[in-house]
Amino acid sequence: MKVGFFVGCNTAFNRPDLEQAVRYAFPALGIELDNLEGQSCCPSWGTMPSVDVVGWCVVGARNHTIAEEKGLDIVTVCGSCYGSLAESKYKMDTHPEIKEQVNNILKDFGREYKGTSNVRLTFYYLYHELGPDKIKEAIKYKLDGLKVALQPGCHTLWPSKVYYDKEEDPFHPRVLKEMCEALGATVGHYTRLIDCCGMGAMRSTDMEKSLKLVERKLLSMKSEVNPDLIVTGCSSCLIQFDTAQELLRNSKKINFEIPVLHYMQVLALCLGADPEKVTGLAKTNVKPIIERIVG
């Protein structure tokens, strides 16, 4: 099995430990990663999607064609990349006039968007291609006894029509829960599970309002689950939960710290990865959790 790894911006430059986790876990599970050499930004929402529909799709299409030429699907660990790439694909696949304008630009560069590569999110790809049972068999370390609260992430769920891998009901997501349970975690439910974490454009526009959303989520998690660990399905949610807690403590909005990791980091640890390489940039203190996992 082989798949193209779309690394994106925030993972490559802010949290390369997460990139390293993906580069460890996929081969450890027998899946080869292609680098999709020459890939660019997805493009992210505040750039070309805010300028023009065709401009958005053509930058997306250039990335799609890199995978198409190799006959590979694309996996990404970032919710924004996942959303932007899946939406540009959906637009071109359902609007022939957009696809035609995009291909008119691309033909001068020897490229043609065909729509043959699917856009996948890492843990959905593993869920559908391997399944939780195979992952259970492959891991060296288990999360036995560890209580986890989940942050699935907006772009992993909506709009469901643009995604290849679907939840039965995107307002009651199950895949990330099942994938954590496969590692031996106890997953607790909390009221604000599917609320937005406030990262992204909101954080860039109004820090105070963005922090308000993550504060509400953290308080709901703490009082209803009291988790040992927060597991995210999106790299942007990872950054928000990992960096916002110190700010909220400084302003006396919360008085606790919960360690935060992305699902792929937890999986890489369970598969035997070097903790420094796959979690070394976490701002929350993840060391006690790692000790409990790898002993």
């Binding site: 680098n35 505040g46 070309m48 805010s50 023009d52 053509v58 909506w158 909101m202």
Partner: protein, 184 residues
């Protein structure tokens, strides 16, 4: 609030700009007129939850009323998380997210965009990444990765191709960022 302030805050409907709705429909918000203002989208919107003045339903309402300046003078549309709960939930398939994006496209055509968006576009053109941290090479080395990811930053030819593609998009016509061809 004094009475004078209260009066000044009242929206003057006769100043509405009826061309705004058409512009929105041309820039990606095709389903605008399908909206019945039922507010299901508002109930699901992080912007509404966080207390922004304009969220999906109110952006659509303001567009239909032609309140161009009210939308351009407010930062709400730029805080949209693109989360698409509204797209999922809308019973009329209006795609409220696309209407907020279309309003951003209107704003950009009037140069009413936040500095961060200009920086993001410039970074996309100059490096191929909207978010690029010049010092990230050290962080990447620290976790055992090569200094540069296998993207446009490690492939100058790929970056040149992306730049040439961007010069064929609406971005080039708008003149928001410098986009000279290298060596010209």
């Amino acid at each position: 609030m004094t009475n004078e302030q209260a009066v000044a805050d009242i929206i003057n409907l006769s100043e509405g700009d009826s061309s705004l709705a058409n512009e929105i429909r041309e820039l990606g918000g095709e389903e605008l007129l399908e909206c019945i203002q039922c507010a299901k989208c508002a109930a699901a919107c992080p912007l509404a939850l966080a207390g922004f003045s304009f969220f999906n339903k109110r952006v659509i309402q303001a567009v239909l009323m032609g309140l161009r300046d009210a939308l351009l003078d407010d930062s709400s549309i730029w805080a949209c998380q693109s989360c698409n709960r509204c797209t999922e939930i809308c019973p009329r398939e209006v795609n409220p997210f696309e209407i907020i994006q279309a309003m951003r496209r209107v704003a950009i055509r009037e140069f009413a965009l936040p500095t961060l968006s200009i920086e993001g576009l410039k970074s996309l053109y100059d490096t191929g990444h909207a978010v690029y941290l010049a010092g990230a090479g050290n962080t990447r080395n620290k976790v055992g990765l090569p200094e540069k990811p296998p993207s446009t930053v490690a492939n100058p030819e790929a970056l040149k191709e992306l730049q040439a593609i961007l010069r064929k998009t609406a971005l080039a016509e708008l003149g928001i960022i410098p986009m000279e061809e290298p060596g010209v």
